[in-house]
Symmetry: C2
């Protein structure tokens, strides 16, 4: 069954070519098959209501491609590439492609089907975010989250990834899409989630970034691993602040894991114990969208993989892929730029602000204890230096400690001093950012309440 | 002489109040006096051509308020506060207010005249950026530059400031202003400017941030210490990319230092030797602006201080203050969103890209030398550990080195190992960011050339 043709036109010849181009027949994701809509019309606002809707197939996956650590990485990257080539999506948003070699391999494989692609570089390792597109990428912009875990938590490693949100401006058949791809800080322990304030700050910055950078867009699209359950404060904040809609509850047709989960116990790479409190799994990978003034977007169908790649014995990743078919059509009446504010948003911002405050107290405590540690180490070093000097000039011999212990102790004090100083500086930055976010949220709450009271 | 009244209306009562409010008579900055325009009209797009223009008085100053280091800091902060209160500007954009105590002092003093203010927090010390406004601040957003010097350059200290650009959304008489305040990395040596690639990256990020976040604005306003001479590649890139106009060449009336300089040898806090190649001084503090679709902006008058604060024996700062009176009026015909591209912009982006590439080579070299240093220190430590152990178990006694030297050497090796590792990680991040910017510029150049060829 062929795919729906896209809304025609667009200025550049190659874009028009891409719009006309028919993709391959989807073999595996049946719900993606849509009713054929014949004919095309030049896209003009005046003739909007007669235009056929644009149908866009979006693929999102956290690829779990950490070199030397992720199991069967190369086989899975090969599999992801094959599927993307076979399926011919319009957009593929990938996360955790940590190695640029993997990105280049994918790029080489997909160049015919997805002539445009971008890899966002940041942090020590790289953001892991990349996008493959059938349509020209007109512009890109990266926003790195101001907080993203701790550099000394080497076993978690999020800090080294420079987590960020990437923006791509893509024009599809005359419609300006602002496509955002992101990956937020992981949740390692839900009961005692030390990273919750950082994730809330990231969700807030993501919401703000989308709000401030999407004014020129017709359609906003966000795909990524948000590391938040659908009811978590961060996702409610993001959705409430931006007005983005979640493809899972909104879709007309769904096929895949129960409750739309994207981390499921049937996936062979998943640690079953971690998912014990959630027998069905959890949903943390999302495709969110909204249409601005002149365009309305709805989700025609949504599909997730179910533990293994279709027709294969291994999954693409430890996460499930999410594939949405979005239908973009012109509104009959242009929507005003100032959409209605939900009164619940005040509670959500308040809740998020409380989380930020909790984080602030923790950060202040950690900064204090590192400062104290640095001072103690410095005092110890000074004492040792004084003792060393006095024994050298013969004031106080023989030395009261064995020389080896004395040397080891000074070594330890130096290491502790240096590390405490670095960590102190780091926590000072954390405190500043949390204070700044808390203040920003206070201002936002005030503006919200003003708007609500004037409504 | 009274100031020109502002365009009336605006939805909120307090805003309308602020619009009606007459400010004090400007005593010192004569060129700021403007023709009185009586009457006011409700601001509506339909009635635009009948509206009197809005006149906005903007103050910009790098305050040089570093606690314990800046001379006469408290006196100068007091003087700045007095002048701002006396003059009643509409907006005051300040940089280098490093201490939040100074900000609070200013806020307390100015609360009657400027009821709205915001301090942007970032980095270890704070961004130093703050804004005082007569009109309500509706929203704020901070973008920290991805590169900003080196943490080990303690004598320069830019890294610790978390240099950033702050965005404020301010509605004045129904017109949406996006006000940006920023401070870029300092230039310590013009002949061998080690920070040039970082400053070019900052200028590029600033330009991109403004372009992406200003789509919803009627007027864009940027004030700050850009640490770039008017002809420098960074400022040409910023102006070319954003279409912002420079108030100095554009103003109808100017009074102040020759060539609009803001670092002048007559300022008593200035190191005259540093300004030797520039006998008149240099212009590095700017007020830039542009009107979007429905509004046109021009600079009616521009004033700088001239080494001392008017009527005082000391200057406000080591920089001169810049004060612009901008005239905002509705366009007769709305301007298209896609403004004409100057072909010279391709050369400017290419030039900036070359600077980024130079920075990339340096960063790669520094990363390599730090990696090598860390490996050498590790080898030395391992060797010492082996020697220490062998002497402990009695295989190789007596020890061939004096024990004190042995201890000091291991201490030194540990310190070198730790520091080299931290600096290695830092330079890896720098390399990633420079590579990312270079790639972004390549994409931008391609898009520019496509646009130019289709024109």
């Amino acid at each position: 069954m062929p795919r729906a043709p896209r809304l025609a036109a667009g200025s550049a010849a190659r874009e028009a070519g891409a719009c006309r181009q028919q993709s391959r027949i989807p073999l595996v994701f049946r719900p993606l098959l849509l009713e054929r809509q014949e004919g095309s019309a030049t896209h003009q606002l005046a003739a909007m209501d007669t235009d056929p809707p644009l149908q866009l197939r979006v693929f999102n996956l956290n690829c779990w491609a950490i070199r030397y650590l992720s199991k069967l990485r190369q086989e899975r990257i090969g599999l992801i590439g094959d599927t993307l080539r076979q399926e011919g999506f319009d957009l593929a948003l990938l996360q955790e492609v940590w190695s640029e070699r993997d990105y280049c391999e994918l790029k080489q494989k997909l160049t015919a089907c997805y002539p445009y692609s971008h890899y966002f570089k940041s942090g020590v390792i790289g953001s892991g975010l990349c996008v493959f597109s059938r349509y020209p990428i007109l512009d890109t912009f990266l926003y790195q989250y101001s907080l993203n875990g701790y550099p000394y938590m080497l076993q978690h490693g999020d800090w080294f990834c420079g987590k960020a949100v990437g923006l791509l401006v893509i024009k599809i058949c005359g419609i300006i899409f602002h496509v955002y791809v992101t990956h937020l800080h992981a949740e390692y322990c839900r009961d005692k989630d030390a990273y919750l304030p950082h994730r809330v700050v990231q969700a807030w910055e993501l919401a703000q970034f989308i709000q401030h950078t999407s004014k020129g867009a017709d359609v906003v699209l966000l795909g990524g691993d948000l590391n938040m359950h659908p009811g978590d404060v961060g996702i409610r904040l993001l959705r409430g602040w931006t007005g983005l809609r979640d493809s899972f509850p909104d879709t007309e047709r769904f096929e895949g894991c129960e409750d739309g989960c994207t981390l499921v116990p049937t996936n062979c790479f998943i640690n079953k114990e971690e998912l014990q409190p959630f027998p069905l799994g959890i949903r943390i990978d999302y495709i969110l969208y909204k249409g601005l003034s002149h365009f309305a977007v709805k989700c025609d169908s949504l599909v997730t993989t179910t533990g293994t790649a279709p027709g294969k014995s291994i999954p693409y990743s430890d996460h499930e892929a999410v594939m949405a078919t979005l239908c973009v059509k012109p509104r009959e009446e242009a929507k005003g730029s100032s959409s209605a504010i939900e009164p619940e948003l005040v509670d959500v911002v308040n809740e998020a602000r409380t989380e930020v405050r909790v984080g602030l107290h923790t950060a202040e405590r950690q900064r204090y204890s590192n400062g104290r540690m640095a001072i103690l180490a410095l005092l110890l070093l000074l004492l040792q230096a004084a003792m060393g000097l006095s024994s050298l000039v013969g004031w106080d011999s023989p030395q009261p400690f064995p020389k080896l212990s004395f040397s080891l102790l000074s070594l330890l004090a130096t290491v502790v001093l240096l590390l405490s100083m670095v960590v102190y500086v780091f926590h000072t930055i954390e405190v500043k950012m949390l204070q700044g976010t808390e203040e920003q949220m206070r201002l936002a709450l005030q503006a919200l309440q003003d708007k609500l009271s004037s409504m």
